[in-house]
Symmetry: C2
Subunit: 217 residues, 2 copies
């Protein structure tokens, strides 16, 4: 039999920095979540509601990624959560180096769960590890039930799918089973949460899961 040559993938610069971030965050016993979604799916609302749901149980910190503006960071800061805004200029995703800079200014000793809100985009962010422990995609009911079929890369890569804005289901055409089937087919191990940041429905289950992931870090 011939010898099989195995080529090990060399980590790129981003992956190496992501590993450094991961080690630093682990040292601080911080659960880091890379939160990805389309523009307007409700990432910032989810962060604000999660902080409320976990009040007294776990302390949140946030890194906000946007092409431009500090709208989201201002909202988070108003809720008295430590936050850094990253503006990417034109880039469609965050990268590990920019996150590393942000980590240097965040009060890590005061944070249990760090949520990194990525740039609103279902394509680019998935290619760049940031140092996170878990990856979550937020989809929303008015976006339609076909998102897993159209953006398989991101739905395959995540640990959890949060389906937000379920309160809008009566007013739009949305096939809940088609959406769930799309996720399960791509990624059977992903946990699916259905919730509404507006009404609060389903938030507790999500927050409990996040807390248990942090406790089992």
């Amino acid at each position: 039999m011939r010898k099989v040559e195995v080529i090990t993938q060399i980590l790129n610069a981003n992956d190496l920095t992501a590993r450094e971030n991961q080690a630093l965050l682990k040292d601080h016993h911080i659960l880091t979540v890379n939160l990805m979604a389309s523009p307007g799916a409700g990432k910032t609302s989810l962060i604000l509601q999660t902080a409320k749901a976990l009040a007294g149980r776990a302390r949140l910190g946030v890194i906000e990624g946007d092409v431009a503006s500090r709208i989201d960071a201002d909202k988070v800061a108003s809720a008295d959560i430590p936050v850094i805004q990253i503006n990417t200029g034109g880039e469609c995703h965050l990268d590990a180096l920019t996150v590393q800079k942000a980590l240097k200014t965040l009060p890590l000793a005061e944070i249990d769960i760090l949520v990194i809100e990525n740039v609103g985009n279902l394509i680019c962010p998935v290619e760049y590890r940031l140092g996170e422990a878990i990856r979550v995609v937020v989809a929303s009911v008015p976006e339609g039930d076909d998102k897993p079929y159209k953006y398989p890369g991101i739905f395959t890569a995540v640990d959890a799918v949060v389906l937000n804005k379920i309160d809008l289901a009566p007013y739009v055409d949305f096939n809940r089973d088609a959406m769930r089937e799309g996720v399960v087919r791509l990624n059977p191990r992903a946990t699916i949460f259905e919730l509404s940041c507006r009404t609060g429905e389903g938030l507790r289950t999500w927050a409990d899961w996040l807390e248990s992931r942090w406790k089992n870090l």
Copy 2:
């Protein structure tokens, strides 16, 4: 006074191909629209409703751009509209060369208005000309009123902004004036259309505008 040296930007390969596409489409007296939006803003619904509104007045043709799947092209084909699906694999935008290939298989003599539905993304598509005459971004009410502030590049580059899903306004927090102000501040010459593909409200004004742009080509 010193002589001022002017450096003219050399067109890149994509721009050159886009110009070829533009010339071909102009020869066929086709108005070409580069339709951009977030995932789930309603680009395909807008195409289907526009085709209905223009029935007997102008004939549509469609190029569908998606990372994966042929869901949108199937919907368009069901409405008996000539359509080509482009799957970009992982790319977050269409480019002129791929569109050029698609143009070779479309029945151009049977098309008055060609809508190129770009990949669902508010960042990458704006950097790539495809050969279009006009560029349109679709935003939707449930995405929120802050999109112009967060994605200034695309809102600055377009000829028109279509605000879709206005029927959902009573059920979400959406400040219409903030959204309009955001657009006007970046791009005072952009025409803003408010409509609902679900109820049909506002579609006629949009369709009339498109037809007049075609007639004045």
